[in-house]
């Protein structure tokens, strides 16, 4: 049995799920009680819960898609845990990739991890790399909420821009490798360097995502697909890679940075 998906791993994952459900239920029950004391209409609270549940279904499915993406290298359980708590796609993928690169594994999450030490290193980096908000929240949130709400204005724009810049910086590192990155020369793996297929995946996923954004803006009735647009664009990009590979089998071999 694959050590990454043993019953022990699933037991650990289940404990995390139970913890998250317990915390959410605790605050939910407490809020409903307080809402009744304040005289908030029960119907209003029910509608809030229903609306929130419906709102969450599509993004949650897209998170499952990310678990699938990462599970090829990391097994199912670690991505499951990481995306159940704190996780977000950009964080988890870059953390896993960075940990594997640090160990000299150039293929990164493109191939399955078979060494337990590499696996636990990735688990440690992913976990410790993401806990900063939980470390600072107990110290600063109370003061922050009292003061910062009033002081948004210009700083809000600056913080929005800086957050966007940080995200773009991360994304560009991956995009750059798809355009000009070389593959693993030691292993001589075909298809892991920048080439026709990496550009096909990159360009088509960008194009599909922009197309979806345009369609949603143009036809408000399509608003429902908005939450699915990101994972759908990723899968369609992967589909285009397969299509090009099928129509032009030699494309698989064309890597300008092998």
């Amino acid at each position: 049995m694959d050590f990454k998906s043993s019953p022990f791993m699933y037991a650990v994952g289940s404990i995390i799920v139970i913890f998250v459900l317990a915390q959410s239920t605790f605050f939910l029950v407490r809020a409903i009680k307080r809402g009744k004391e304040l005289g908030i209409d029960s119907e209003k609270m029910k509608n809030t819960a229903l609306q929130s549940a419906l709102f969450s279904i599509a993004p949650a499915i897209s998170i499952v898609a990310t678990v699938i993406v990462l599970s090829g290298a990391l097994g199912v359980v670690l991505p499951w845990i990481r995306l159940t708590v704190i996780g977000a796609i950009q964080y988890e993928t870059s953390s896993a990739q960075s940990a594997l690169n640090a160990m000299g594994n150039a293929a990164g999450i493109a191939s399955a991890i078979t060494d337990p030490e590499q696996f636990t290193t990735v688990a440690w980096v992913m976990t410790v790399g993401s806990v900063m908000p939980l470390v600072i929240l107990p110290f600063i949130l109370k003061k922050l909420q009292k003061g910062i709400g009033k002081a948004m204005g210009k700083n809000k724009l600056w913080s929005d821009l800086m957050s966007a810049a940080a995200f773009i910086g991360i994304i560009i590192a991956f995009v750059g490798r798809a355009i000009l990155g070389t593959g693993d020369k030691k292993e001589d793996i075909i298809g892991d360097g920048a080439g026709v297929l990496s550009i096909t995946g990159l360009v088509s996923s960008v194009a599909f995502m922009l197309l979806f954004s345009f369609l949603v803006k143009k036809f408000p009735k399509l608003k429902k697909i908005e939450s699915f647009a990101m994972p759908l664009s990723m899968f369609l990009g992967m589909g285009m890679v397969l299509l090009v590979n099928h129509l032009l089998p030699s494309a698989y071999l064309i890597e300008w940075r092998y």
């Binding site: 908030i40 819960a49 499951w80 159940t84 030490e117 908000p133 929005d160 773009i168 996923s205």
Partner: protein, 229 residues
């Protein structure tokens, strides 16, 4: 007597510290079970390149999102993650529909319900998805090198980051150009430079150039669009 807000912060702190301990125990449990501990050198090397971005980003996120999510909503959101694409839209729409302000006690109640329900639904859907994948063995089959879809899995990263990046690039094209040029220049000279090295370079360039452009008023006319995103 402590107010509802004060008690919320007390409980929020208790749950957050508990969450921190439980989450850190996960890699401990894996390492003990597999009898495989990471080498300090690899751990710190791997951590350094992500911490340099995620730690400051984590602080920026707390400062940016906390005023919008309410007290309990913030404590819950940062435990379960996926804030910008899930918790924040849920809270905003719940507050808009109910008509309460997040700074009022009623708004605090509504935002807590929205985030808590979202967390429960998301956690359950992910768990069900994982169960289905495990039972059907779907994952193993599709990712093997013999699989007809293997070439697509080899190109996961360009597809994933193309899809995530598209709207960022479109909305913030002024921020995108400089880091892209620098990263491509680095790769043109040293194509083997790994993502762990590229990320700090790319993020530093993006942050510096953005700050300079902000100071020069380049984003002045974009105030509305940025706020509406």
């Amino acid at each position: 007597m402590k107010s509802y807000f004060d008690k919320t912060h007390t409980w929020g702190r208790i749950w957050t510290v508990a969450a921190l301990v439980v989450f850190l125990l996960v890699p401990v449990a894996f390492s003990i079970h597999l009898n495989a501990w990471p080498k300090a050198e690899y751990f710190f090397k791997g951590l350094a390149s992500v911490a340099i971005i995620f730690y400051p980003t984590g602080i920026i996120e707390v400062i940016s999102y906390a005023p919008l999510l309410g007290a309990a909503g913030t404590y819950l959101s940062f435990v379960t993650g996926n804030i910008a694409n899930l918790k924040l839209p849920c809270t905003m729409s719940a507050l808009e529909t109910s008509g309460y302000s997040v700074s009022s006690e009623e708004g605090e109640v509504i935002s807590t319900i929205a985030v808590a329900v979202s967390s429960i639904v998301t956690t359950l859907i992910i768990a069900i998805g994982v169960l289905l994948m495990s039972v059907t063995g779907f994952v193993k089959e599709i990712t093997s090198p013999d699989s007809p879809v293997y070439p697509a899995f080899q190109q996961i990263l360009p597809c994933l980051f193309g899809a995530i990046g598209a709207t960022y690039f479109y909305k913030h094209w002024k921020i995108t150009i400089a880091p892209l040029v620098v990263v491509l220049a680095v790769l043109a000279f040293s194509g083997g430079t790994q993502v762990g090295v590229l990320i700090p370079i790319s993020v530093a360039v993006a942050l510096i150039v953005t700050h300079v452009m902000y100071k020069k008023g380049v984003f002045g006319k974009e105030t509305e669009s940025v706020r509406n995103e």
